[in-house]
């Protein structure tokens, strides 16, 4: 077994300047002209440039054919790492050895030109992503079919909907066949159906024995696709190893306040008002108690809660619409939920707190937390004993088939008389 990527002591330093990284020649000339004067006054030192190490002493090995997820908070160096491995930017220290052709999907649709037709853009975009003309020709029909834009392939893409553009762009990217594929969060495009198609394609890629590095904030995605996970924290490798335990550790450590420098508000934990974290009756009202530490007062605050399924997709979400005005301290939020007809299993709570408005009115997200403690639903499945394909909801439904051909299908909901059932 070969090593596909070996990274040793990799570091990347950025200078944080007060203004933009680039200046103007005019400023340089003015500075040069006034240098004698400033030298005389002893103020000629360069403006203070703060140093930020986006990556620091990062090292790991990735085997051929391994699918590796990279997790970490915003600013932890994930994107910088991908940029270095795809040679967009150079490291400051250390080195990486990369075996084989590297394809990077840091953004889909790079180089799309609105005036050009879909067909023309497929070729230009393919070439930009590093495909040979031969390869593009070979995959052309597949790409167009994958994107589902056959009828519009000779129309300028400016007439495409944004969804169509994204689908076409991703279709090109999905047919890239490098030995190593670097992917940055691009799966967050399109509708659910298209995302599923993309995930399938990604799975194919890894089954063909290609090495994949995937950066994502969606733990569900990482869990589904990756065997190994590297957790980056403030530019360093905090943990690396098998996917499940590393993700668990990451999520547990992820409950720090968003702003690392300041000790801000912080969700501490939650429990059911009836005690514990397991619900045995989902058809009657219940209350979730959330504990919080506030170091500063919150005015016009907004609190939101979302229940996530095993794939980290939100199943139910809601906001407390009345603005919250809270002094510093340790308040307890009570969330009353009238019923939760979800299938039995483990769910997770995701909580958010905004200050000075909500997410739509310009409020500031001051804390976001996905609780480590799962919410267990211990109820009998009423729909069907097979939990695999029955969906998310746990509502009674009966499928009646009369005769040898299905002449009528009746969805019968609990407590609803038969005569109001909807025939199809």
């Amino acid at each position: 077994m070969h090593t596909a990527i070996r990274v040793e002591g990799l570091g990347k330093r950025y200078y944080l300047r007060q203004r933009e990284p680039y200046g103007t020649l005019r400023d340089v000339l003015v500075r040069a002209a006034t240098l004698p004067g400033r030298l005389a006054r002893g103020t000629a030192r360069r403006g203070g440039a703060d140093v930020l190490w986006a990556l620091r002493d990062v090292g790991f090995d990735i085997r051929d054919g391994e699918v590796v997820g990279i997790v970490g908070r915003n600013g932890s160096g994930k994107s910088t790492l991908l940029k270095i491995l795809s040679r967009i930017t150079e490291p400051t220290t250390g080195h990486a050895l990369v075996r084989g052709r590297v394809g990077s999907l840091l953004e889909v649709g790079t180089g799309f030109h609105p005036e050009l037709s879909g067909r023309e853009n497929v070729f230009v975009n393919g070439a930009i992503l590093g495909m040979r003309r031969r390869e593009i020709l070979h995959h052309f029909d597949e790409i167009v079919a994958f994107a589902g834009v056959e009828r519009f392939i000779d129309t300028p893409v400016k007439h495409y909907s944004s969804g169509m553009q994204m689908r076409l762009a991703f279709a090109v990217a999905a047919h890239l066949e490098p030995e190593i594929l670097l992917v940055d969060e691009v799966l967050a495009v399109g509708d659910a159906e298209f995302q599923r198609k993309c995930l399938g394609k990604m799975k194919d890629v890894s089954l063909q024995g290609r090495t994949v590095l995937l950066v994502s904030h969606q733990m569900g995605q990482i869990r589904r696709l990756c065997e190994t996970v590297i957790w980056l924290d403030q530019g360093r490798v905090r943990a690396a190893g098998a996917a499940a335990p590393t993700i668990r550790a990451y999520e547990a450590g992820n409950s720090d306040p968003l702003d690392p420098g300041v000790s801000g508000p912080c969700f501490r934990g939650w429990e059911l008002s009836s005690g514990g974290h397991v619900l045995t009756d989902t058809s009657t009202p219940f209350t979730i108690r959330v504990h919080l530490d506030l170091t500063t007062p919150v005015s016009n605050g907004h609190f939101g809660l979302s229940i996530l399924d095993g794939e980290d997709d939100s199943v139910v979400a809601g906001w407390a619409w009345d603005p919250l005005n809270l002094p510093a301290g340790s308040p307890i939020f009570e969330v009353r939920i009238p019923q939760l007809p979800l299938r039995p299993g483990m769910y997770r709570l995701s909580l958010a707190l905004f200050d000075g408005g909500n997410n739509l009115t310009g409020g500031r997200l001051i804390e976001k937390w996905t609780a480590v403690q799962p919410l267990g639903l211990d109820v009998p499945p009423v729909a069907h004993p097979q939990t695999e394909w029955a969906g998310l909801l746990n509502v009674p439904a009966r499928l009646a088939v009369a005769g040898s051909v299905p002449v009528e299908r009746t969805w019968e909901l609990a407590g609803v008389p038969d005569d109001t059932a909807v025939p199809q």
Binding site: L25, D64, G65, P91, R99, L106, H113, A127
Partner: protein, 282 residues
Amino acid sequence: MSPHTTTPTVDLPIHRIAPAIGWVPVRLGEIWEYRELLYFLVWREIKVRYKQTVLGVAWAVMQPFFTMVVFTIFFGKLARMPTDGIPYPVSVYCALLPWQLFAFSLTESSNSVVANQRLLTKVYFPRLIMPIAAVSVGLADSAISFVVLLLIMAYYGIAPGMAALTVPVWALFAVAAAIGVGLWLSALNVRYRDIRYTLPFLTQIWLFVTPVVYPSSMVPAAWRPFYALNPMVGVVDGFRWALVGGPSPQATIGVSALVVLILLTSGLFYFRRTERTFADIV
């Protein structure tokens, strides 16, 4: 260990990613490796330019033509500029063609890196491709306005001789000069964003120190070697000589060619040295 590895055990190339220190080799071979990308970028530029065929072509024809008309009226008729016996419109158009190729290519390649910043921060490719691809539209435009030049020459009853076969050489000379300067300016433009505002000024001044509206024979012979430090002097002289004869441009060409060579080489090295920070500051 992953159980589903089917990668053939061929020896794949191993690439080492490490910080480069100081001056780095130019590696023109890598551009050859990426020739298909270069081809598609050029193709895209030209396709977009001439997508609305009528407007695209008309633009390429009108610009030098009307410049020629205005120059003919003011410099030819009113100022009675000498032309070594060639009709003034032909003389000035012969010079405008390589000049506009140069000026357009210079502007486009100087802006190329900043203009492609989205590409630059998302994908790797040899960065040199950007200023090189940027000159393609200028070449296409020139090919179109060359046809107009032949029509004007036919109108004045001037038939090009065998020397006309060297026209592509002069065109490449102009492009090389533009890329040489463009490499410097495109790299500087990333760091100093006011470079782009100095470009119109630069090309305007440059036009008047180039023998476009006047023949280079107006410049005293003793000054010619210094005059030819402007590489466009050699290009324009060569172009005129190739199409309408006149004095042999030997005196200026050697110096101009040397300057182009120096600009191009130093530009390549400077560009390569600074390109590693492009993605960080663009």
